[in-house]
Symmetry: C2
Subunit: 323 residues, 2 copies
């Protein structure tokens, strides 16, 4: 039986990865680790045997024993303090909870001396400031990280290469672009828009005043349910030591997304720009090329933006009802 | 009075920096911090008022208070676990004692909110594997770090840039190539050769059997007494956020150095190559360009290799007599 270790188990992406594994014919065994308890029932799956250990990869000495006892075939390393804004406020914590926990995990795997593949999740933030003529970003583009978070992610990628070349570890690396999808925390922009619109719907409003950041910025959004399929393909078919963009290859502005959702909910928006929400050094546009992952492992996103936004709005309606 | 904070105060480079400061007309005040006590008298200087605090930048909460109380104008950040070999054995310790201590220092300086310039010492190791046609290495050469130590140094450099751009800190960055000079630890190759020859001289031998690594490798050596002058010039005249190679611009093979020292001591060498001392992934040649530091701050090395080797041999004669 295939054995998956998932770090950052209690988060948004992990839950969708579990849902994906559960749709497959193959039975699998999963050990989740996280600093926080999962907000879902680990025993609620059909084809998965799931267990959970609450521990902190930064300090907890039990991590080695727990992982040794499990003997994973695959490690999906999702654990991360992934907010750029947080990294500006607490750079030390951000760095430790990205690079240092990853390094601790690599050392545990090196000591295991077993046949295990790791998927190291990186970020499009690694590219840093890019000009429009460099789009879509390919994996061989130079990295110019401009936030503490981005530096931590580039460091993680460089460490991955050193552990592949120097110690023979089997690591595949992603640079993942923006994800969206049901269940995402409202600190992320699309989720925040959807929540506000779903609330307005529930209140029976036909108009909504919304303060936003700069809506002209263009990002490359992929539905998390496509992202987790990419992660599974990279774990099973990616090339050791290689970096893959995980992205749609298509840029969409925040104003387009907001218009689509406004139309879906029938709510008219009165939008104003809130200077505090505008990030000073943000790139105007970030769009990736997904040619490499398409050619090498056959992944492409399948969920249309339209469908994703429907599902996100529906998810918020449900979350607000339960709350 | 100019105030210098020196981290890694008890090491080889720091001591030469103090000697340099002491030759200047200007009186200066120095606060040294290090995990280890200095192996020299901190009160033995003419124009320097020196004090020392033993503390660990990785864990010691007193660091902030100590630095705040001193209010430095300049920070020379030498603290580092600088051995590449050690970093392969203990990557976590190496990474923490390079990148994490640097990040802790930056956070202390950010909280100080004062007009202080930091010199961040990096390494030619950051360049990684280079081909002969890329020599001499210029600062705009891509960085391809191949050891945990080198990754830690590149991370330090990327963090420096983020703190300059994002928080307005005043940081100048070096990539320092190999140093040699009196007082260097014998784990470094030229110091090790010199010690063995000085011992043979003392024993009255005319021949010496020596086991070495690969002597054909070419490196760019600078006398530490020139290096510390470069550091002082960069602290006072370097451009904020810029990276400077500190190197001689000239490649010398280890066999040339060994021949020169053999001739100086009149000891005939019977050299054999010890496979354990040959590093598998080492570059054949590493030579830097020092054009940028020459043009921008007017530094060039002044001590001839011949003089450096004389002084290193003489230093070992003295150290062996005392021992």
């Amino acid at each position: 039986m295939e054995k998956y270790l998932i770090t950052g188990f209690s988060g948004f992406v992990s839950r969708h990865f579990l849902d994906f594994l559960d749709t497959r014919e193959t039975h699998a065994s999963v050990l989740g680790i996280d600093m926080h308890d999962p907000p879902f029932d680990v025993h609620g799956y059909h084809r998965l045997t799931c267990s959970f250990e609450r521990l902190d990869l930064l300090y907890d000495k039990r991590a080695q024993e727990v992982i040794y006892n499990f003997q994973p075939d695959y490690i999906l390393h999702l654990a991360s303090y992934s907010s750029v804004m947080f990294s500006w406020k607490s750079p030390v914590l951000s760095f430790q909870n990205n690079t240092n926990i990853f390094l601790n995990l690599l050392e545990i795997v090196r000591a295991l001396d077993a046949d295990v593949r790791i998927l190291s999740i990186g970020s499009s933030e690694e590219y840093g400031n890019v000009s429009d003529k460099e789009l879509p970003l390919r994996e061989d583009q130079p990295l110019r990280p401009v936030s503490p978070y981005a530096v931590a992610r580039v460091s993680q990628e460089m460490l991955s290469r050193v552990y592949v070349e120097g110690y023979g570890l089997d690591i595949v690396i992603t640079r993942s672009f923006n994800h969206i999808g049901p269940g995402q925390n409202e600190i992320f922009v699309v989720s925040s828009f959807a929540k506000q619109l779903a609330e307005a719907s529930r209140n029976g409003w036909s108009k909504l005043a919304m303060r936003t950041g700069d809506l002209s910025i263009v990002r490359d959004f992929t539905d998390v349910r496509d992202v987790v399929k990419a992660y599974h393909l990279l774990l099973t078919k990616g090339r050791k030591g290689e970096v893959y963009n995980v992205c749609s290859g298509r840029g969409v502005s925040l104003s387009e997304i907001l218009s689509m959702m406004s139309e879906k909910t029938g709510i008219e928006l009165m939008q104003t720009t809130e200077p505090k929400l505008v990030r000073p050094s943000d790139n105007r546009a970030i769009v990736g090329s997904n040619q490499k992952i398409l050619v090498e492992v056959g992944w492409k996103p399948e969920i249309l933006l339209d469908t994703a936004l429907d599902d996100i709005l529906e998810d918020w309606r449900t979350r607000l009802e339960i709350a």
